[in-house]
Amino acid sequence: MSVPLDTEPEDEEFEQEKRQLEKNGLHFELSRRRFMQTAGVISAGIAVGLPNVAAAEAPSNTQAITLKVNGQSKALSLDTRTSLLDALRESMELTGSKKGCDHGQCGACTVLIDGRRVNSCLTLAFAAEGSEITTIEGLAKNSDPKDASELHPMQAAFLEHDGYQCGYCTPGQICSAVAAVEEHSRGALSIVSFHTGKTEHPEITDDEIKERMSGNICRCGAYPNIVAAVRAVAGASA
């Protein structure tokens, strides 16, 4: 890649653009054309290997943020692009929440925000600031991972009913199941509730559990045991 030579008029244009960007509080933004020039310089300078294109394209927009996770607040400095999932895993040493698809299609990243289950991969960390975030690490009363004596009932039920094989989807499954039982207990409906004509406090049948857990994919196919675990907890709390 070569560096364009006709830089003089572009510099003027770039300066104007930069002033405009600074006016809008976007000091670090580069124009597309300027990126091509920068990338050209970088790739010319590196014979082998990949330049860090993302960094060259647009320097990170890093800001201070405080996230409250499992009852504890932590002050961080994050790029605005950071998903809540990446913030938990990469900056807070909470690697229980898993990255499966990273596009809201598998549910492995499911966490609770103010008690509601969400996909943390599609939640920007900055959008979650000010909320109470609960991850798999925050469900048990005892935070020591080697102490299984005070597990959340749903964690205990997954153990009891063998609701996993490889375990990768399990933290998301459990967080999702905790919320599913809570939603059912306050009378929330699913499409199965309508299809079975039970639109007033529907019973938590297996069909209801399958529909209400459909946002969590398990590639090992541990579904029957996951349904059994959720049924046990929902039945106990009904």
């Binding site: 933004e29 394209e57 959008a127 699913s190």
Partner: protein, 341 residues
């Protein structure tokens, strides 16, 4: 993902002002926008987070009808007592869409703005997509077009700058079209209300435009007229798996019955066009008729009269016709009674 600056709006005026800047986008639930930013399809320079605006109320109109704040989450809307009893068609459509997690995030206003799930739009390694890159052509029209449109598409050939065969993926939108919703929007200088049928666009000559919303306008609410279909409503969704999948076709059917005769009807198709497909002619043909297969088949014929199939989606034409008859039949049997059949 391209870098952007993040701003949190605390009042609608501030949000509208910030959102009017070039390159700015509103962030609501983020389930579609953040996803498309990861794919490189969307690249806003500023995200204006509107989640903290007070647009989360569902208020009954004393004259009948209801006003739904733009930031009401899909799961809360579906489960609101007024919606599930008076507008069960909307509850059913919402609960048929996405997953519980996504419905907890997705908002009423955001769902209106949901973009197509055309594979060629989402995957930037395909250079031809008139919706993503105006004038670049359409890779879908001769590609794998199984989930694509059979109605209202623009087909001038794969290399033409107007061709587009994308569909609107929303379930909520199909029910709202059948219910005759209206959309309240606010811009820097004025407010206006857009009838649902005029909000989403067909591709026409400008396939890169999804809606008639102006770049500086914010959706603040959706209003529904007084409920007519509380007792006889059915949302039929046909898809490749029974949950957590987009519709191949869907039908929102609402009937107002007087004895065995149809007094009024609301009918819209999803998964077939770039907007929910509603034909008031199909609804009118039902009025005064006995609720039965003859009238339902006639309505289906009118809705699908201009349908055109492609290599992989021609099956949708017959599926949609039969789906309309089935949804109307189940609706006529009663909102919950029909479903147990």
């Amino acid at each position: 993902m391209k870098s952007f600056s993040y701003q949190r709006a605390t009042a609608p005026e501030g949000a509208i002002h910030a959102g009017a800047a070039r390159g700015a986008k509103f962030l609501a639930g983020g389930t579609n926008l953040v996803d498309l930013m990861k794919y490189g399809v969307e690249s806003p320079t500023t995200l204006v987070d509107i989640n903290h605006l007070e647009l989360k109320q569902i208020v009954a109109d004393p004259e009948g009808g209801v006003r739904i704040g733009a930031l009401v989450r899909n799961s809360d809307l579906a489960n609101h007592p007024l919606i599930k009893t008076q507008y069960p068609l909307l509850s059913q459509a919402l609960l048929s869409g996405a997953s519980p997690q996504l419905r907890n995030m997705a908002t009423t206003g955001g769902n209106l703005m949901q973009r197509t799930r055309c594979y060629y739009f989402t995957d930037i390694t395909f250079p031809a997509c008139n919706k993503r890159e105006p004038g670049s052509g359409c890779a879908a029209i001769k590609g794998y077009n199984r989930i694509h449109a059979i109605l209202g598409q623009t087909d001038k050939g794969a290399t033409n700058g107007e061709t587009c065969i994308a569909t609107n993926p929303s379930d909520m939108n199909v029910a709202m079209a059948a219910l005759g919703a209206r959309i309240e929007v606010e811009g820097p200088k004025s407010k206006r209300t857009i009838p649902f049928a005029e909000f989403h666009r067909l591709p026409g000559p400008t396939p890169w435009l999804d809606t008639t919303l102006r770049p500086d306008e914010l959706i603040v609410a959706v209003t529904l007229p007084p409920a007519r279909f509380a007792r006889n409503a059915y949302y039929l969704k046909i898809r490749d798996r029974n949950s957590y999948a987009f519709a191949l076709i869907s039908v929102a059917a609402g009937l107002e019955l007087d004895g065995g005769l149809i007094k009024s009807a609301g009918l819209a198709l999803g998964g077939v066009a770039l907007k929910p497909w509603r034909d008031t002619g199909a609804e009118k043909t039902l009025i005064g008729q006995p609720a039965g297969p003859e009238a339902f088949q006639r309505a289906a014929g009118i809705l699908l009269q201009d349908a055109k199939g492609y290599e992989h989606n021609a099956f949708k034409i017959e599926m949609a016709k039969q789906g309309v008859v089935r949804a109307l039949t189940l609706a006529s049997q009663g909102t919950t009674e029909g479903m147990q059949a």
